[in-house]
Amino acid sequence: MIIFAVLSGFGLAFLAPAICRWAKERSGWWLAILPFALTLYFFSLLPGLAEGEVQSLALAWSKELGLTFSFRADGLSLAFALLVGGVGALVAVYAGGYFGTKAPVERFYFWLFFFMASMLGVVLADNVILLFVFWELTSLSSFMLIGFEHDRNEARTAAIQALLVTASGGLVMLAGFVLLAQIGGSWELSSLVLRGENVRANPLYLAVLFLILIGAFTKSAQFPFHFWLPNAMQAPTPVSTYLHAATMVKAGVYLLARLYPVLGGTPIWLWAVGGVGAATMVLGGALALSQTDMKRLLAYSTISALGSLVMAIGIGSETALKAMVLFLLAHGLYKGTLFLVTGSVDHESGTRDVRHLGGLRRAMPYTATGSTLAALSMAGVPLFLGFVAKEYLYEAAYKVGALWITLVFLGALLNVLIAFRVGVAPFWLPAPAESGLPKRPHEAPWSMVVGPLVLGALSLILGVFPQVLGSVLVAPALSAAAGERLEVKLAAWHGVNEIFLLSLLTLGLGIGLFAIRNDVQRIAARLALPWGLDTLYQRTLDGLFALASLQTRVLQHGYLRYYLITIIVAVVGITAGGLFRWGGGSLPHLSLDLRFYELGIAIIIVLAGGVAVLSRSRLGAVAALGVAGYGVASIYLLFGAPDLAMTQFLIESLTVVLFVLAFYHLPNFAQLTPKRERMRDVVIALITGGLMTTFVFVAGGIQIHPSISQFFVENSLPLAHGRNIVNVILVDFRGLDTLGEITVLGIAGIGVFALLKLRMDQHPAKGGRPAQAGTKGGKE
């Protein structure tokens, strides 16, 4: 069943355009059915988990390489899957109202559900390579969605930045996965989890750890890779809600939690993961201080929240992991709401600048309700889920040391400020007198109100009754992350202790900061550095482009003759090197036991070669080459390779036809090259020919690997039901190679077609011979 959860998402993606055309403005509601059903399905798996039933499934992919399509839904996977499905359904509904029918909404829904399915794949995959594939698919869909408004330069730049950072991080992670599988002895996460001690004791542990951390940190926008996330706010708001707040950016968190039993618990883990997380948590909050755009404010607070999650995994105690799972859900709920609210405010009032917004409570009562609930949860007001999560986070940090609790305090404080600036101020405070809004605000359509209300209400309900979450969801998720079965009893109220007082202090100080928010913002804007990692990224990219254009100018000069010389000399050089290494120059004994007709064919081939070189007409040269080719084909025939001979005959014939067609477009034959250049060509040709001949002689005597011809001969009929071994190798034993080859062939054909058609469009005049290409390209 699990595989269908993923596949149906991809199916929906491909059906979405058709559904949009059919359902028109109601498409959001229709499209939300599947994500909603998936959410219910994931819920239905939860009770089984408490009794230890884990859904899993494995299909063969390539056994030899250790690849399987294996999926597994344990507590941790389901916690994320519920978030992906649930928020996905609400965002689908919301986007229906947000885009209406005017935008290219079909394309939007396609990539949205493509993302949803890939993200479900990430959290449900058991095979690390499969996980990687889905991981990069989420990066790809994120790229397409950030650049959704592709006519805007900023959107394109941000999309490329996000892709470069997350996808290259993913590639580094792949290297980590391969190493991990080598030392752990399995490609399946479920088996790796049981072999954590072997992995941690291995000398390669550090390499594995850092490679995988880079993947997780780039994806989850951890310092120093955090800069892509605020720029990704160029995406339409439903995308920011779904990908860049609730789900995709948490893939890194998921991975770290998933691998905690394998890699975690060491001192280096605490400092590398916990330290980076804590730094990101504070930095995200601090960078938000100078911002005034609601979306960017939320983006920085998301960075900060992701930092807290990563820090909790870094600490890795039972309390910390409990805090991680709770905070994950709390953040998904409140941040999702606030992003949706931001979209609605932007949509209905025309601006997202917190300095201009105010008093929207009367115009947008429902949106205001959802927003307020979420903001209170984010600020950590008691009775909200955010409060419960923050209590646990404080408790976890409290047990590690004073430094950690100070950092958590700072991060929480800054988030209180952001929560009030984004979630409360635009609705409850009077509008600044001097500024008028671009639009006269009114309540958003019903479809755009459902999401914020549902998510906001959940923040409150789950906060009052966290025990519901505790046994059903948190316990299985925690058990999966910790690698042992744990019981969880959550309570909304822990009594008055140091931690509760600290929570109150955070809230109080945060509200104090909020009261002087404008001064804080001004001071922060003055203190903000004029450059950052974003600038460094841009410089690096510029440098790369400069290098690329430099090497293009040097290597891609556009002269066919020099390209040929480069290719030939390179091949000859490499082959000569190989010959020295393997052959040592020992020629095998040559038997000159030739039949007279064999000798005849040989002489014909050599003569035809001479004619081809000396001929003063192109047609003559090509015909001579054809003769040489036919001669070679006859030799194949004589030595018992009829397949090869037949193909060679046909290729020779068709080549002549192609040459004749191409000659028609070339200028008349003339000798333009000076003698010196022709001598150089002669030398190159002789060396190449001589070397290839030696190579053929020597290669016959070198056996690096044991020959597999015997295997083919013996197994062609019993295994592949064919007597023609050549063809059996092509279509069965080496089918994958052939598939690759015909794909290349197809691309080459399309390439030739495109190049020639393109030229035809540039030279519409019939019979006109493009002089430029003729004189520059030809050697004659």
Binding site: W61, S62, P642, V657, L661, N724, V726, N727
Partner: protein, 138 residues
């Protein structure tokens, strides 16, 4: 090229070449032949039509855009490998089905044949795409 001899011969040769190309394709698994050489043979037939009557006529006789042949060929080859996923076998595993034809003996059909047809169509399409394009330039 308006040569009467060529035109008359091409009229006769085209069906023969096409039949021979299919023959080569089908016998390929047991005797010399196969999708690659079959595809080349089929392309040769239309190359001749193209030389004798021009590419417009050749396209009309072919009816299908050679680019389309490339796509269908690649898709066939790929899907012959994907069939296996339903049977929980690795990608591109050959799957065989023995068909009993009574007095005519038995016929073995398998996904490699589908694959070879894919190769045939791709080679045919690529060769003709290039030949037609070259002929239509200028």
């Amino acid at each position: 090229m308006t040569s009467l001899i060529l035109r008359t011969m091409v009229r006769l040769l085209l069906p023969l070449l096409l039949m021979f190309s299919v023959f080569l394709l089908l016998r390929g698994h047991n005797e010399p032949g196969g999708g690659f050489v079959g595809g080349l043979m089929a392309a040769t037939g239309f190359a001749l039509v193209s030389i004798a009557f021009g590419s417009t006529t050749a396209r009309q006789v072919l009816r299908i855009d050679p680019l389309f042949l490339i796509g269908v060929g690649l898709l066939l080859a790929l899907s012959s490998g994907l069939v296996t996923l339903w049977l929980n076998q690795p990608f591109l595993t050959g799957i065989w089905y023995k068909l009993s034809l009574g007095t005519f003996g038995k016929l073995e059909l398998g996904t490699p044949l589908l694959f070879d047809i894919g190769v045939y169509l791709t080679v045919w399409g690529v060769t003709l795409t290039i030949i037609f394009a070259l002929e239509e330039v200028g």
